[in-house]
Symmetry: C2
Subunit: 392 residues, 2 copies
């Protein structure tokens, strides 16, 4: 896409594989960002919250393997030092450099690896690809996560196209309020920072704040959107803003789904939709409790349509529910209607549906008009293996 | 203990093993009970809430293998019918019969098994033991859970002793607000129903509401306390009430610990204590988030003193925390002091501590004077295996 360069190199922060990536903008881009709501936040997040106030960004340096979190004042100084190295190496203002880190919490950032790594990034920045960057930011992820889409705006000069590309990492410590998730959305559209901010907040609410892998919120979550304006397509009026917002939401939702699909140990992706809730908050709470229930997640892994665990999770969610009104569907198969189990044949059909790798479950509370939905993955022995052995 | 008889038989509700248990009081006992706060509640809980209003109970019938939950009006009628069978068979008032169920949600109660099972219980009630009852109420539990203790009251006639025995089941669907937990505490003390109720509420708050296995709240949780008065020891004045309350709390805490120890797939029991919180609510929230974190629980299973996950869980708990003030100890070993990691030697020592089957972790927020603590277990591949295959 116009206006952006990429690199991804092995700097030695991780033992193997590439671990240092960069997005470089030819000119300073309009920037908006959202960060984790965890009160324990990593140094790059503390720094990023200050940097983003300027609403301009020209370089993003991301390392995997070390989260630079719980590293105190030294960690913050180290994060600052890396921005300085980038600024000097690429000859751009220090205020326009953002850094992100992901990996093990608590270990000091290995500054020597940055001293040799950043020049290596410079060597590759003119030949590197988006894929190189996407690879360099991964930790326990098993695949790169990239989404590219086009938007089209009607102008007096005819239809004009702009591009949007999202790249993300995340596989564990994923729950609403963002996660150990890093996501970067790049566009060549020309948009003001106010509009970019509100579009990003809205898209995040519909995407990354509606996914969960394991219910833990990370200390490093960052969602950053950079708009280079290089396409010449101006996003100013309501019609073009709608196109931009919808596209951003789509890109974020696809990235979110990729993260859930690549959830640690995951074998299936489930969309739970709760409709008929009295309030939006009730719909959200019921979705969240179901999506976070280890009993629901293990049943899905076992391909067991254990609807009792789903309704019980809704019951403990704090949402107002009436068991005798509940309808529960696996895809189109009704398992429960008005609180009554639909018998072994329905259950057999539902068990068949669960063999798929993507499953839609609908819980209708039949109490009102509010709806919400969540994406989550199942829970396998591999999640335990991955997380019991992560640091050893 | 004076005034109580027990039985446990195989009625065929489960394929194998005993599945129908009874506690029979020679005379109606003073009774107090607490039930699940899940909005989806089982039929025996709906019925039990009505029955307990009389504050008298003479017989408790408990079946395992079927939860009689999400069984609609038929389930309620079935629960009522079983109380009637018990009343007729044992010639006691129907209002004095409590029933509990635990097992699979959604399947109709197999009434024919009760018709043949209750007479079988009668055959065994004069020869049965507490162990027989404790065995009959188990589901995925791997062991019986029984605690027996003595209390001593000073009276003008000298010291007098009374007995207290608790029996419980529970292994999964365990979290605060009670769980798929059934617990019965029996005493031969003579105590008024008001005092019994407040003592039970207090003991529950300190014990069963401070444990978690998997974070799911069951639909069937019941904690029932029966006081026969047969010892002749009267609990009336403040001094004797204190003895009774403390004993009840001890019995409930021991049962709670047994449940966590027998948590599905558990290999270790952890006590997390959060001190130095600004408010009691903050201490509770931080404890709860740590105890429920799958990342913390899998790290403990892997014997990895992954303190970053513990502090991150406290950070997302909603409690007010300041990372730079946190101290974290594994037993007596400081891993973090004022937000600073204490280095690889401390971590090696902590890793050694984690080889034990019981581990104490202390997080000092250094912000105030409030303290709370929680018991939880680790999270192994076996939890997934047990819950993926539960119904198949």
């Amino acid at each position: 896409m116009k206006g952006f360069k990429f690199a991804g190199v092995h700097a030695g922060i991780k033992e193997n594989g590439s671990d240092l990536g960069m997005i470089l903008c030819e000119k300073p881009a309009t920037a908006a960002a959202l960060f984790t709501r965890n009160r324990v936040v990593a140094a790059p997040v503390i720094l990023g919250k200050q940097t983003i106030k300027k609403a301009k960004c020209q370089a993003v340096l991301v390392n995997s393997g070390n989260a630079n979190c719980f590293t105190g004042t030294q960690g913050l100084a180290d994060a600052r030092a890396t921005t300085q190295m980038v600024a000097r190496t690429f000859d751009i203002p220090r205020d326009f450099v953002m850094v992100s880190s992901t990996g093990v919490i608590g270990a000091p950032l290995p500054m020597d690896k940055f001293k040799t790594g950043i020049p290596l990034v410079k060597e590759h920045i003119n030949t590197g690809t988006l894929e190189d960057f996407a690879q360099a930011i991964l930790t326990t992820d098993t695949c790169r996560k990239i989404v590219s889409m086009k938007g089209c705006i009607d102008t007096p000069q005819g239809a004009k196209e702009f591009s949007m590309t999202g790249v993300a990492k995340g596989s564990g410590m994923i729950r609403p309020d963002m996660a150990t998730m890093l996501a970067y959305v790049l566009t060549d559209a020309d948009i003001g920072v106010g509009d970019l901010n509100s579009a990003l907040t809205r898209a995040n609410e519909k995407s990354f704040n509606r996914i969960t892998v394991d219910g833990d919120t990370s200390t490093n979550d960052t969602l950053l959107c950079l708009a280079s304006g290089e396409s010449g397509v101006c996003i100013r009026d309501e019609a073009s803003l709608k196109v931009f917002r919808d596209l951003l939401e789509k890109v974020c939702c696809r990235l979110g789904k990729m993260i859930v699909k690549d959830g640690e140990g995951a074998t299936k992706v489930v969309q739970i939709t709760v409709k008929g809730a009295k309030t939006g908050q009730d719909a959200f709470k019921a979705c969240e409790a179901i999506a976070h229930s280890n009993l629901v997640k293990t049943a899905i892994y076992g391909e067991d349509p254990n609807w009792g665990r789903i309704t019980a999770a809704a019951g403990r969610s704090g949402a107002f529910v009436d068991p005798d009104r509940m309808d529960l569907y696996f895809e189109k198969v009704p398992l429960v209607i008005k609180g009554c189990w639909q018998g072994p044949d329905a259950e057999k059909k539902a068990a068949g549906i669960m063999k798929a790798s993507e499953i839609n479950i609908l819980l209708d509370l039949n109490l009102g008009d509010e709806t919400d939905s969540f994406l989550f993955c199942d829970f396998s022995e591999n999640y335990v293996k991955i997380n019991a052995d992560y640091r050893s």
